[in-house]
Amino acid sequence: MAELKLADYKTTVHNDWCPGCGDFGILSAIQMALSEMQIPRHKAVIFSGIGCSGKTPHFINVYGIHTLHGRVLPFAQGAKIANPDLEIIAVGGDGDGLGIGAGHFVGAGRKNVDIPYLIFNNEVYGLTKGQASPTLRLGEKTKSLVTPNTNNSVNPIALAFVSGFTFIARSYSYDVKHLKDTIKRAITHKGLAFVDVLQPCPTYDDIHTREWFQGKNKPDSEKAVPRIYKIEEAGYDGVIREESEVNGKMSKILEFSSEWGDKIPIGIFYQNELIPSYHERIAENIKDYFARPPSHQEISDIENKPAARIDKILDKLQIN
C-alpha cells in the first residue's frame, strides 16, 4: 500500500472551533500519530462524546463516530470487543468524561479494553457556553460563571489510576510533538490508556490560559518560566515491569497528580501491561475469540440459512 501522508488523515469539513482553541493542537497530534504509525484509514475509528471536543472525528479522515454526551467509552468498548482488529480511539471533553461520564470512566477501568482515551481538559463545558466542568477547581471563577465554582475538581490522573486504567499520561495541547508521541504510546499500549490533555479554552477559561501555562503571569519570576515540565526528562519512568512495582509507583503517580500551579507534570505516569486486557479475559472462555471475534463470524450461509445449530441445547430440554 502507498504511504499515507498526514494530509490523508484530514477531511475538508469546515472546522468551527474558536480561533486559538487548544483543540486544534490535539487534532493535529492525532492526525500525526495516525500518519506516523501508518494506520490504514479504514482500520481506524475515532469515537467521541458531545462538546466542542466531540466534533473531532469529523475532521479526521478515518471512520468517525460522534456519540452521546458522556457515553463515548461504552460505545467505543462495544466496537472494540466486537472487533478487536479495529484501531479504536476514544476522545471527549472533561465534562463528557468526568461529569456525566464518570460512571463509565470507572466502569471502563474495570474492563481494561484495549483503547486509548483522550480527555480534552479545558475546565469548562465549552459547547454549552462555559459552565464549570469537573476539572475546574473549587472557588475558581472563570468569566462565564455567575459565582465561584462550588464543586471540588476531580483529579483525572488519580481517578484513572484508581479505576484501573493501565496506561496513564498527561500532555498539553500546544506541545503537539509531545502530545503526538504520547498518543502513539497510548495506541500501542495493550489495555485501556488514558491521556489527560491540558487544553486551554481561550473563549471561556480566562484562568488557565495558554499564557498561564507558559508562565507569563507567574508573579514571582521576572521572565516567564513554563509551568509544565516533562517527567521523563526529570528521570521518571512509569513503566511497570513486575507486579511488585505497582505499589511503589502508586504514591509517585498520586504525587504527580496533585502537582499544580507552578509545576505541572506531563508525560507517562503509569504503564502496566501485566494486567490482562478484556480481550484476553474473554479468550479465557472463548478460545478462538481473537481469530473469530463477533464481527468476523458468518451467521448465515449463502442461502441465508442460519449457521448456528441449536440441537444440542434443545436436546437438553427435550422431553423424552
Binding site: Y63, I65, A82, I299, N304, K305
Partner: protein
C-alpha cells in the same frame, strides 16, 4: 369454577419459602408429567426476595396443549404452613391438599412472612366461617368444600429415608422434602414412578449425590401414599393421550436466548435485572455455539456497569456489523431512551429485548404486567423510527427473536422486542423448534469497490438519499467506505449539518422506513385474527402474553356456543392500521384485554383505526390473567353487563 378443569387436565400448585426448592420441585414434576405424555404450562410466582418469602409454581397438565393458568387448583402441594394459608381456599371441591401434618396447629399470626394485608384476608375468611385461626382451620374449610387433605409427616419420612440410606445427616436431607411432596402428588395422580425417577436424574444430573438421595426420598414418598392412604376417591387421576414426540419443556427466556443464538446474535450486553437477566445468563452458559459447518461460533455476553452502558456498548458493537442485542426490563429500559434515539438517528440495527414487569418505578419487580407499551413506542425525544414487536407466547418468543434481528437489519433501526415476566419465567411444552429459518440482513455489504465511494467529499455515503429510505450499510473497518456517525442531523456521509433542506430529506428518509416496514412485514407478523370458524362480530383484541389465556377462554365460550373473534396485535409500532381495520371492519363489540391500568393498546387502536373500544378488561395487580377470569369477564359482557371497564383481580 372448575369449568375448565376437564377430564385429563389438572391444575396443580406447589408452594414454599423462596430458596427451599420450589422451583426445582416444580420442574421435576413438570418433566415427569411431560414424559408421561402430558402438555404442560407452568407459571412461577415469587417475591422480590432471596430467601424466605412465599413462592409458588402453578402447573397445568393436560392431554391437550395448554398455555395459561386457571384460578382454581385441583391439587395443592405444600411442605410449609404459609402455602396452605395462602392457597387452600382456591382448591376446587374434590381437589387435593398435601401438607405437613406436623404443622397442623400453626397459628396464622405466627407466620411472619404473611404480610398484614394477607393476614387480614385469611383471618377474615376463617373467622367468617367460624374456624380457628390456624392451619387446621384452613384445612377444615377446604374439607367442608369437599377437598381431600393428606397430611404427611415429612420429618418422620425423612428420618426413615435417612435410616434406609444409612446416612444420619438429616439436616442435609431436609432439602429433599420438596421432592417428597411432589412424589406424593405424582403417586396420587396415578402417574408412573419411572418418569419421576428419570426426571430427577435429568434435573440433578450433574450432582450424583443429590440424585441418589432425591430418588430415595421420592420412592419412599411415592409408596408411602400407596400404603398409608386410600386413594380411591381421588378424582384427579389422569392419563395422557399419547407421548409427546419432539417436544421440549422450555421457558420463555430460554426460548428467546436460543432464538438469538440461531438468529445470529453474537454480542449481548446486560445489566442484571429481573426478569431479564435469566436470558443473558442462559446465553452466557451457552456462549460457545455449534455450527452447521462443524466450526464453533460464539456469543460474547458482557455485563456492563449500568443500562446506559449496556445499550451504548451494544450500539458500538453493532457498528462492526455484528447482530447485537441488549436485554432489560422497565427501569433499565427507561435509562436507554436517549441511546435509542441515537441508534434511530444513525440507522443502526439493534435489538432491545424488553422483559416487562409490573411498574411504575421499581413497582413489583418480580410480578406481571404489560404496561410499557406506549413507553416503548414513544421512548426517546424527537421523531425517529423504531419497530416494536410483541410475542404472545414462548414459541413466538423463539421465532420472533430471529425476526427482530431481520427487521433491525432490513430497516436499519432499533427494534424493541416486547416480552414480559409471564412469558419469560413460564414453562411450556413446545414442539421442538425448527432450524429452518431465514436470516435477512438487508442492504449490507462488507466489501466496497473503491469506485462506489463518491460522496460530496469523496466518501462513502452511508446515508445516501438516492436510496432513501434504506442506504447501503457496511461495518466500520471496511475498506473504501469511511463514513461518520453523529447524533446531530447529518449529511449523506454523516457529517453534522444544520441545513434546513438536508434536514427535511434526512427526516423523511428515516421516517419513511416505517411506511416501508408496514408495506413489507408479513401480515402474520402484524396481527393475527383467530375467528373460531365463525363470523362473529364480537371481537376481543389484545397483545402479548395474554394470548394463551384469551384463546382458551374463547375456545370454551365457543364450545358453549358464544363465538368471538380474537385479534392478537403483534406489530405494535408502526401500527398495522390497515390489517387491524380489516379485522375490525364489521366488528360490533370491541373488547380490549390488557394487563395494564390504562388500556394502552386500546388507545393505539382508537388513535389509528378510529374504532372505539367498547369494553376494557384490564388487570394490574401484578398477577397474570387466568383463563378463568377472562372467561367470566367475557361472559358477563356478553350477557349484558354494562360496566365499560372490568378490572380483574385474581391471583395470590
Amino acid at each position: 369454577m372448575s369449568f375448565l378443569a376437564n377430564a385429563n387436565s389438572i391444575s396443580w400448585l406447589i408452594g414454599g419459602p423462596q430458596g427451599s426448592g420450589v422451583d426445582s420441585a416444580a420442574n421435576i414434576f413438570a418433566k415427569t408429567c411431560a414424559k408421561e405424555g402430558f402438555h404442560i404450562f407452568g407459571k412461577r410466582e415469587f417475591y422480590s426476595n432471596i430467601k424466605g418469602e412465599h413462592s409458588y409454581f402453578t402447573i397445568r397438565i393436560s392431554e391437550k396443549p395448554v398455555s395459561s393458568q386457571l384460578e382454581e387448583i385441583n391439587m395443592l402441594v405444600s411442605f410449609d404452613a404459609e402455602t396452605v394459608f395462602r392457597h387452600a381456599d382456591k382448591v376446587s371441591p374434590s381437589g387435593v391438599i398435601i401438607y405437613d401434618s406436623s404443622l397442623a396447629e400453626t397459628v396464622l399470626d405466627e407466620v411472619p412472612s404473611i404480610d398484614f394485608q394477607a393476614n387480614k384476608r385469611i383471618g377474615k375468611l376463617l373467622e367468617d366461617s367460624g374456624q380457628p385461626l390456624n392451619l387446621s382451620g384452613m384445612l377444615e374449610l377446604a374439607k367442608a368444600r369437599g377437598c381431600i387433605v393428606y397430611g404427611l409427616p415429612y420429618y418422620e419420612m425423612i428420618e426413615a429415608v435417612a435410616k434406609k440410606m444409612n446416612d444420619p445427616k438429616l439436616s442435609k436431607l431436609s432439602r429433599v422434602v420438596n421432592v417428597m411432596a411432589i412424589s406424593a402428588s405424582i403417586s396420587l395422580l396415578g402417574i408412573k414412578k419411572d418418569m419421576l425417577i428419570s426426571a430427577i436424574q435429568e434435573v440433578f444430573g450433574s450432582k450424583p449425590k443429590l440424585v441418589t438421595s432425591n430418588i430415595e426420598a421420592a420412592e419412599y414418598a411415592y409408596s408411602y401414599i400407596g400404603t398409608k392412604f386410600d386413594t380411591k376417591n381421588i378424582k384427579n387421576k389422569i392419563t395422557p393421550k399419547d407421548v409427546l414426540k419432539d417436544y421440549v419443556l422450555i421457558s420463555g427466556s430460554q426460548a428467546a436466548a436460543i432464538g438469538k443464538i440461531l438468529g445470529g446474535c453474537r454480542f449481548q450486553t446486560y445489566y442484571p435485572i429481573t426478569p431479564a437477566s435469566d436470558e443473558s445468563e442462559f446465553l452466557e452458559s451457552n456462549q460457545i455455539i455449534d455450527q452447521v459447518d462443524g466450526k464453533n461460533g460464539s456469543v460474547v455476553v458482557v455485563q456492563t456497569e449500568d443500562e446506559i452502558a449496556a445499550i451504548t456498548m451494544a450500539i458500538g458493537a453493532s457498528l462492526t456489523g455484528v447482530r447485537t442485542a441488549t436485554a432489560t426490563s422497565g427501569p433499565g429500559f427507561s435509562l436507554m431512551a436517549e441511546a435509542l434515539g441515537w441508534a434511530g438517528m444513525n440507522e443502526v440495527p439493534l435489538v432491545v429485548t424488553m422483559y416487562q414487569r409490573a411498574g411504575p418505578s421499581t413497582g413489583l419487580p418480580t410480578r406481571h404486567e404489560q404496561s410499557d407499551l406506549l413507553f416503548a413506542i414513544n421512548a426517546g425525544h424527537g421523531d425517529f423510527p423504531k419497530i416494536v414487536l410483541a410475542s404472545g407466547d414462548i414459541e413466538e418468543a423463539f421465532y420472533d427473536s430471529i425476526k427482530v434481528f431481520n427487521f433491525a437489519e432490513i430497516y436499519q433501526l432499533p427494534v424493541i422486542h416486547l416480552l414480559d415476566k409471564a412469558i419469560s419465567s413460564s414453562i411450556q411444552t413446545c414442539k421442538r423448534f425448527s432450524n429452518d429459518l431465514k436470516i435477512e440482513r438487508g442492504k449490507f455489504k462488507s466489501v466496497i469497490d473503491k469506485n462506489q465511494s463518491e460522496g460530496t467529499a469523496g466518501h462513502f455515503q452511508r446515508f445516501k438519499l438516492e436510496d432513501s429510505p434504506i442506504s447501503m450499510r457496511v461495518p466500520i473497518g471496511t475498506e473504501n467506505a469511511i463514513f461518520w456517525n453523529t447524533g446531530d442531523e447529518h449529511t449523506e456521509e454523516g457529517h453534522i449539518s444544520e441545513d434546513p433542506e438536508n434536514r427535511n430529506k434526512m427526516m423523511d428518509k428515516r421516517m419513511k422506513k416505517l411506511d416501508l416496514a408496514l408495506e413489507k412485514i408479513a401480515e402474520n407478523d402484524k396481527a393475527i385474527c383467530y375467528d373460531f370458524e365463525s363470523d362473529s362480530k364480537n371481537v376481543v383484541i389484545s397483545w402479548g402474553s395474554t394470548k394463551g389465556a384469551i384463546l382458551e377462554a374463547l375456545e370454551k365460550l365457543s364450545e358453549e356456543g358464544s363465538k368471538l373473534r380474537f385479534i392478537q396485535v403483534r406489530l405494535l409500532h408502526p401500527f398495522p392500521t390497515e390489517t387491524v381495520k380489516k379485522f375490525l371492519t364489521d366488528a360490533k363489540l370491541v373488547i380490549d384485554v390488557e394487563m395494564n391500568y390504562s388500556s394502552q393498546l386500546g388507545s393505539l387502536v382508537q388513535q389509528n383505526t378510529g374504532k372505539e373500544i367498547d369494553y376494557k378488561i384490564v388487570k394490574y395487580n401484578g398477577r397474570p390473567m387466568s383463563t378463568t377470569e377472562i372467561y367470566i369477564a367475557l361472559k358477563s359482557i356478553l350477557s349484558g353487563n354494562n360496566e365499560r371497564r372490568i378490572v380483574l383481580d385474581g391471583g395470590t
